[in-house]
């Protein structure tokens, strides 16, 4: 009796109704299957005994291997260099846009955020096309490397540079937000005291942005450690192994027999990413300076012309030129032919659209990401409802577990899915590996937080009395969820679902390990075409997917209306 009572408590206290307990139980099962079991399998595999039964044998063998050490140092050092680039660029651009008065500031912000929306494989491909011997932009200027010299992007420096640019918006957003919260009074108080502008910048404004810059930098580090698209496109041809690409190459080359080894590599990746995130939350707690809210600071100093020119040059370099090179390459009818207006044609587009695998890739990506967005939305609503309105130990644990697949690198999630779903499922005796289902489950696990976070935040900020009033009126749980709770968090939920749709359409990290013939995704197609050396076709597919993405963005804005659209990520 007493034990029964205590187990009951886990799902909620005595006020929690029977229907709510059932719902909580169903959600627990869902998260257990989709998240806890796969990640658990990964841990068990990493800590498996060696071939002769030595304690933690796999772990010790893998840690001692030279390849592990090389990949670890490459990952660590290139991530750190990329973070330095992200931070330098992000802070400088945020200060320029936030503190100087100049025309077209909104356009500038949008262009600076572009690398965040462009998938990393597309960004890597753009830089390959921009810097290569056939570069449609550098070649006419006589700046392209000679055809024999190889592409300078296939190198450690290339990886660090492109990762630095890809994650720069994370720092930019953080510092820009800190500057937006800067009260004008603080600057005016310094001006009254006759402090010169340079010193106001150094002593009053900059110190308030340090914690945000650090937080953004650590987020960029986590992203860099887990990045797959850039090391895959630049590091594999350049023979610069990183942890993510080493896992991919090992699994591709040797199959499930190396599961133990790659699980240990995944564990190292996870520890690096989680360490940075823990450091970030500790830093936020320790360094955060409480700033009074007040009239926000608006720049009054017009930017000097040289500064405006410099900013536009940087934005041109990081956001416009690489994409221009990509688009121009996609108009080249055959590989190896230099770009010129005379030969530009839609030949590549005709060819890729006639390619059955490419068409399947687009279909699969659309269907899988739409399904993932819909299912995550359906799961996130009751989960956020129970977590905020009927808190219990079980719901708190569930909330935490649901977050895990987004915190760890995508390669780790994909590996966990293979370990969990490669063996035939009990009861039906069939393996999910080689079907679209395994990709879908990976999407469900990884992208749930993208809709759960905003919905939970909206629920926490909402008024619980609405739900209580409906209970007083005798309305049942499911009707309350559908008619009271869902509408109250609808903008956040829809924005989250759109974010899932866009992220899943773009992703390569999960499907690179989970795809099989007939189950290609867009990301996989770009990667395979480029890997086969068909870079013009890869460029065409990238351009098509970017256009599809922009179309979806526009559609989302139009469908969601003004209020919900404000929650969309590119409005940040």
């Amino acid at each position: 009796m007493a034990a029964e009572l205590r187990i009951g408590r886990i799902l909620g206290d005595r006020r929690t109704g029977g229907g709510e307990r059932m719902l909580a139980l169903v959600l627990c099962l869902y998260v257990a299957v989709v998240t806890i079991w796969p990640l658990g399998q990964l841990l068990l595999t990493a800590f498996r005994p060696g071939p002769e039964g030595e304690l933690l044998g796999t772990l010790r063998d893998t840690l001692a291997a030279r390849a592990t050490g090389r990949a670890f140092w490459n990952t660590l050092s290139l991530s750190l260099i990329s973070v330095a680039i992200s931070t330098g660029l992000g802070v400088a651009l945020a200060l320029a846009v936030g503190l100087l008065k100049m025309p077209l500031r909104a356009t500038l912000s949008f262009l600076i955020l572009m690398p965040l929306v462009i998938p990393s494989q597309t960004l890597a491909l753009s830089w390959i096309e921009l810097m290569g011997a056939q570069s449609p932009i550098l070649r006419p200027l006589g700046l392209a490397p000679s055809p024999g010299a190889g592409n300078p992007m296939y190198s450690r420096a290339g990886i660090a540079l492109v990762m630095g640019i890809e994650h720069m918006p994370l720092v930019f957003i953080a510092v820009r937000a800190a500057l937006r919260g800067l009260p004008a009074d603080l600057v005016e108080a310094a001006r009254i005291a006759a402090i010169p502008p340079r010193r106001i910048l150094a002593r009053v404004i900059l110190p308030l942005t340090y914690p945000s810059a650090l937080a953004g930098a650590l987020l960029a580090f986590t992203a860099a450690v887990g990045n797959f698209g850039i090391p895959a496109l630049l590091g594999i041809p350049g023979r610069v192994p990183m942890l993510t690409t080493l896992i991919y190459q090992r699994l591709n080359g040797f199959g499930p027999s190396v599961a133990g080894q790659v699980a240990v590599l995944a564990l190292i990746l996870t520890l690096m990413a989680v360490a940075a995130l823990l450091l970030r939350s500790a830093a936020m707690r320790r360094l955060r300076v409480p700033v009074e809210t007040g009239r926000p600071f608006h720049p009054t100093r017009p930017a000097p012309l040289w500064a405006q020119g410099l900013i536009w040059a940087v934005v041109l370099m990081i956001a416009i030129l690489p994409l221009a090179a990509l688009v121009m390459t996609s108009f080249v009818p055959a590989i190896g032919v230099p770009f010129s207006l005379d030969i530009a044609s839609f030949e590549q587009y005709r060819r890729v659209l006639a390619n059955a695998a490419v068409v399947r890739g687009f279909q699969n990506s659309l269907v899988l990401s739409a399904l993932a967005a819909a299912i995550c939305l359906i799961v996130a609503l009751p989960l956020a409802y129970l977590a905020t309105r009927r808190p219990s130990p079980a719901m708190a644990a569930l909330d935490l577990a649901a977050e895990a697949p987004w915190v760890v690198p995508g390669t780790v999630v994909a590996l966990a899915m293979i370990l969990a779903f490669l063996p035939p499922l009990p009861l039906i005796g069939m393996s999910l590996y080689g079907t679209g289902a395994i990709i879908l489950i990976a999407y469900l696990a990884r992208f749930l937080p993208l809709v759960l976070r905003p919905v939970a935040a909206a629920a926490a900020a909402g008024d619980p009395a609405q739900d209580e009033a409906a209970r007083i009126a005798g309305i049942g749980l499911f009707r309350r969820l559908a008619r009271i709770f869902a509408p109250s968090v609808a903008p956040a939920a829809l924005a989250g679902a759109v974010l899932i749709l866009m992220t899943a359409m773009n992703e390569l990290t999960l499907s690179a390990l989970l795809w099989s013939s007939g189950r290609e995704t867009i990301g996989v197609m770009v990667f395979s075409l480029q890997y086969e050396g068909n870079s013009t076709a890869a460029a065409a597919v990238s351009v098509l997917s970017t256009l599809l993405l922009i179309g979806l963005c526009a559609l989302a804005e139009a469908l969601l209306g003004r209020r919900a659209a404000a929650a969309l990520p590119w409005r940040a």
Partner: protein, 361 residues
């Protein structure tokens, strides 16, 4: 020496006039309160004096030096002022001592800065908190830091922008006493922006009542109380009330007026015609006979040892009058009221053309 001289200052935001025709002369060492309801332009005027806003029209001299005028704008950095902000605007990344010292950066060498900082923190009683961060202090302590910071460079003029708005009533009284003490000790000219007439009366040597972007009246607290220039000033200062009257005759600072059926003679300078009778509580007495006014008792409450009684006069306008009585009288009862004192202003002085409410208070 004259500290401030403003002539015809005007300012509008996006076509909305917020200040117009501001004339102001203030001697050095004065304590001026800019008083008015929210949206009257008082903070905008303060920010014009500080140099954070550009005047559209008019000229401004500080301490004999032209700082604003046609084609002239001296930036805040070069005006040599001190300012206490409503939010205090303490730099959150610096300690208490750091805040004061940083404000002295361009004015004193390093060793002198430290000495002056210690002296100022001593003066506001915060020497023991010198190493704290602003967010570790209470509201009153932050206020003192802001004062110490603003006064440390010994400015000729200190601007205070609603500095007491974020404090509770008890602290407000202590800070007012602190303002008086520091004003006397430093000899600095103070300008305080406030919407609270009690605050203004408690500290100021001069009060400028602002209304709709203009200065309705400027003078000593006593002048504003005894001889208000407009009905708005009369109602705003000292819980005043106004009754419409007819001025019958005017002779050497006294007016003969008709109020309802009664005629009486009171001080004032209004020409014959419509006018206003300005009254305070202590001007009213309970009449033993018919009195000058008949009024119905609305409500009463016991305050400061007497019964504060609110009454509605019969046939004499709609303003509720208040008077203190030794005994409680039942609501609904009719009483007679004698008017012992008062002040008459002409009807033409009634409400100056109001400017649209501005977003900037």
């Amino acid at each position: 020496m004259t500290q401030i001289r403003a002539l015809g200052l005007g300012k509008s935001f996006g076509g909305n006039p917020v200040l117009s025709g501001i004339d102001l002369t203030l001697p050095g060492g004065a304590f001026l309160a800019l008083l008015g309801p929210s949206g009257c332009g008082k903070t905008t005027l303060l920010r014009l004096i500080a140099g954070f806003e550009l005047a559209d029209t008019g000229t401004l001299h500080l301490g004999g030096r032209a700082v604003a005028g046609p084609g002239l704008h001296v930036p805040p950095e070069q005006r040599g002022l001190g300012m206490v902000f409503q939010s205090y605007a303490l730099w959150p990344n610096m300690t208490v001592a750091g805040n004061v010292e940083f404000a002295l950066q361009t004015r004193l060498p390093a060793s002198a800065r430290r000495a002056r900082t210690a002296e100022m923190l001593q003066a506001v009683g915060l020497a023991h908190l010198a190493d704290r961060r602003p967010h570790e202090l209470s509201g009153g302590q932050r206020q003192r830091v802001a004062l110490a910071r603003a006064l440390a460079p010994s400015p000729q003029l200190l601007l205070l922008d609603e500095p007491l708005a974020n404090l509770d009533a008890h602290l407000r009284h202590r800070m007012l006493a602190e303002f008086r003490r520091l004003h006397a000790a430093t000899g600095t000219t103070f300008i305080l922006v406030t919407h609270d007439q009690d605050e203004a009366m408690a500290v100021a040597s001069h009060i400028a009542v602002m209304d709709g972007g203009r200065i309705a009246q400027m003078g000593s607290p006593e002048t504003l109380y005894r001889r208000p220039a407009t009905p708005m000033v009369a109602r705003f200062i000292g819980h005043g009330a106004t009754l419409p009257v007819e001025v019958l005759a005017h002779q050497s600072d006294r007016c003969r007026i008709r109020l309802g059926h009664a005629q009486l003679e009171l001080p004032g300078s209004a020409a014959p015609g419509p006018g206003w009778l300005c009254l305070h509580r202590e001007d009213l007495r309970l009449a033993h006979g018919a009195g000058h006014l008949r009024a119905e008792i609305l409500s009463r409450s016991f305050q400061n040892g007497a019964w504060l009684t609110h009454v509605l006069p019969r046939d004499a306008g709609l303003d509720v009058l208040s008077l203190c009585l030794p005994e409680p009288l039942a609501p609904g009862a009719e009483i007679g009221i004698d008017i012992a004192q008062g002040w008459i202003i002409g009807g033409n002085a009634a409400a100056p053309a109001r400017l649209p409410e501005a977003a900037h208070a």
